[in-house]
């Protein structure tokens, strides 16, 4: 089964899904899936582990929500604004963070996201502890798309998700993506071949931040609010977990991981702190035993199986 067939299968499921499951739940899952894919672009293909991606996701949500609610922008423009704001934040934090490698990179991105958290806690336009509430679902494309209807909005969200997913797929398979992988595998060698490794890493960081911002904007439109939760270190950890569960460096892994984690949270929401405990247990279990994630393990088995059957 090729990647393409898996993709068509998942697309068919996504098209039928809102007739079977609750659309708002599916839209949340798609927002997080895009977020996790954006994160995976950085860790899986550039080898950079950001532990502060919530800053892009959360800040974009605030910017998008504010643009719709206070400035009266149409949602499609506000989402673009949110994504670009996240990209701009990515330029600044990325340029500083790539000055260190490995574990320090993770700590630096984490620290910056904590700084953005405190900024959002105190800034006048975020509503502090209450968050930004009551973002209206204004019609998109000049009234062509009545997105106050959940079913209509679902297909809009799916289209935007597919756009983001397609963009990531193109980036990974472009010459740019190949150079990124070369840098991930052996930075010195890539540099000696004449590639400016820092510039490649920075561009990857900005692309990932922008797409994470698109996911955050999308979530603000779907949920009609933006909150501090989306800027916390816990949220940064959650997106790491989604990518880990699904499989870092696989195309579909983050999507699968996001759906699993969001479903789990949906069922366990009533149990409060146990959600965190279970997430912690999953972290420990994956690091100790299943470092390839679900999709990574399945892909390995499949490869071994088809190699065996060819013999």
């Amino acid at each position: 089964m090729s990647t393409r067939n898996v993709g068509f299968l998942l697309l068919a499921v996504a098209l039928v899904a809102p007739w079977v499951a609750y659309p708002v739940f599916l839209m949340t899952a798609l927002c997080f899936a895009l977020f996790a894919c954006a994160f995976n672009l950085l860790i899986g293909y550039a080898g950079l582990m950001s532990f502060g991606h919530a800053m892009f996701f959360g800040l974009a949500g605030y910017v998008c929500g504010h643009a719709i609610k206070v400035w009266g922008w149409p949602p499609e423009l506000a989402m673009l604004g949110g994504a670009l704001a996240a990209g701009a934040l990515g330029v600044v934090t990325g340029a500083l963070a790539i000055r260190r490698q490995g574990i320090y990179f993770a700590m630096i991105t984490l620290a910056f996201s904590q700084m953005v958290y405190f900024f959002c806690l105190q800034a006048p336009f975020t509503g502090g502890e209450d968050g930004l509430q009551g973002i209206p679902r204004s019609p998109m494309l000049g009234g062509l798309l009545p997105v106050h209807n959940d079913m209509v909005l679902y297909y809009v969200v799916l289209a935007i998700f597919l756009f983001g997913f397609g963009a990531i797929y193109r980036i990974i398979h472009s010459p740019f993506g190949q150079v990124l992988k070369a840098i991930r595998e052996n930075e010195q060698r890539a540099v000696s071949l004449g590639y400016n490794a820092d510039r490649y890493k920075l561009v990857a960081f900005i692309l990932s931040a922008t797409l994470a911002g698109l996911a955050g904007s999308l979530k603000a439109v779907v949920m009609q609010f933006a909150t501090l939760t989306d800027v916390t270190a816990a949220m940064s950890g959650e997106v790491v977990l989604m990518a880990l569960v699904g499989g870092i460096g696989t195309i579909f892994g983050p999507v699968v991981g996001a759906v699993i984690i969001i479903t789990m949270q949906n069922y366990l929401a009533a149990t409060g702190e146990w959600v965190l405990v279970i997430q912690g247990v999953i972290f420990v279990a994956i690091v100790l035993a299943f470092r390839k994630g679900i999709v990574g393990e399945i892909a390995d088995r499949w490869r071994a199986y088809s190699a065996g059957s060819r013999k």
């Binding site: 582990m49 260190r100 490995g102 620290a111 959600v275 965190l276 247990v281 972290f283 420990v284 100790l288």
Partner: protein, 293 residues
């Protein structure tokens, strides 16, 4: 009454003292992180949770068993240090051969588990801990509560003792040698795996000790270490993890900077350490006392 640049001295020195106390905690925690990272190559994300466990251990010893603060100061770090031994033996030991990021993720997961369990058992609201040295003295320019003065001195002594133990004793020399080249040190007949376990327990115990010291100042709550550990990461990036004395100086210095910011422009006080981190990354990416590896 005199004023300095429009700020009453009571407020200025009061905030400086608070900054010094926060700095003491930053120093003790970043010291432990640096020692653990040096030998284990693991950034211990559980550090904040272990600080919280230290405070909780002291609180439980007092409320359940009636054991006073001074005994808890010794007992709580030993208890929490013992849980550290278990974590190292059962979990961390399995991942040393992997990329450093896996240690970060594993200890992050552990922190979620520990904090979740404490929240489930005791809620997230704070529990008060009685001040063991009530009262204070008026120094003229400020009022100094005895306990706070004691915390600053005690943590300084602890930090300097740790520096002395690592830089000036035979055991410390083994530790530094094992940090440089564990295989060679093993060849000399030193039990490096046991040393790794004890080093982790020591770093964790140091975090717990900071937690016990913090208990009478802050409320004892399941989330008291959650944000602190993130600030300490920034402190570690600023100082670099190469030098013990560097960690101590950076910790106290950043606490003071934070205190001063609280006087000058309160809304920025939460952010100032991260701004300093950004500036240090611009000027000296390896950190103030760090070496580029």
């Amino acid at each position: 009454m005199f004023e300095l640049i429009g700020i009453p001295p009571q407020a200025l020195f009061g905030q400086l003292l608070l900054g010094l106390i926060n700095g003491a905690f930053y120093a003790m925690l970043s010291l432990g992180l640096a020692v653990i990272f040096g030998l284990l190559n693991v950034i211990n994300f559980t550090h904040g949770a272990q600080y919280m466990m230290g405070a909780f251990a002291a609180w439980l010893l007092l409320t359940v068993l009636g054991i006073p603060f001074w005994a808890a100061l010794v007992l709580a770090p030993i208890i929490v240090g013992f849980t550290g031994v278990l974590i190292e033996r059962l979990l961390l030991r399995r991942i040393y051969h992997l990329d450093h990021l896996y240690g970060f993720l594993l200890t992050f997961g552990l922190a979620l588990i520990i904090e979740g369990v404490f929240r489930w058992k005791w809620g997230s609201s704070g529990q008060p801990y009685d001040n063991p040295i009530p009262g204070g003295v008026n120094l003229g320019f400020m009022f100094l509560p005895y306990y706070r003065g004691w915390v600053v001195i005690a943590s300084l002594v602890i930090c300097l003792a740790t520096w002395y133990a690592i830089e000036r004793t035979r055991l410390g020399a083994y530790l530094r040698a094992a940090t440089e080249n564990p295989t060679l040190v093993r060849a000399f007949g030193i039990n490096v795996p046991r040393m790794i376990t004890l080093t982790y327990a020591f770093g964790v115990g140091l975090a717990a000790l900071a937690g016990v010291l913090a208990a009478p100042i802050q409320q004892v709550s399941a989330l008291m270490g959650t944000n602190l550990v993130l600030v300490v990461f920034a402190v570690v990036v600023i100082g670099g993890m190469g030098s013990i004395m560097g960690s101590i100086l950076t910790g106290f210095g950043l606490g003071l900077i934070e205190g001063l910011t609280k006087v000058a422009y309160p809304p920025a006080s939460n952010i100032v350490i991260f701004v300093v981190m950004a500036l240090v990354l611009l000027v000296k990416p390896a950190g103030l006392f760090g070496r580029t590896k």
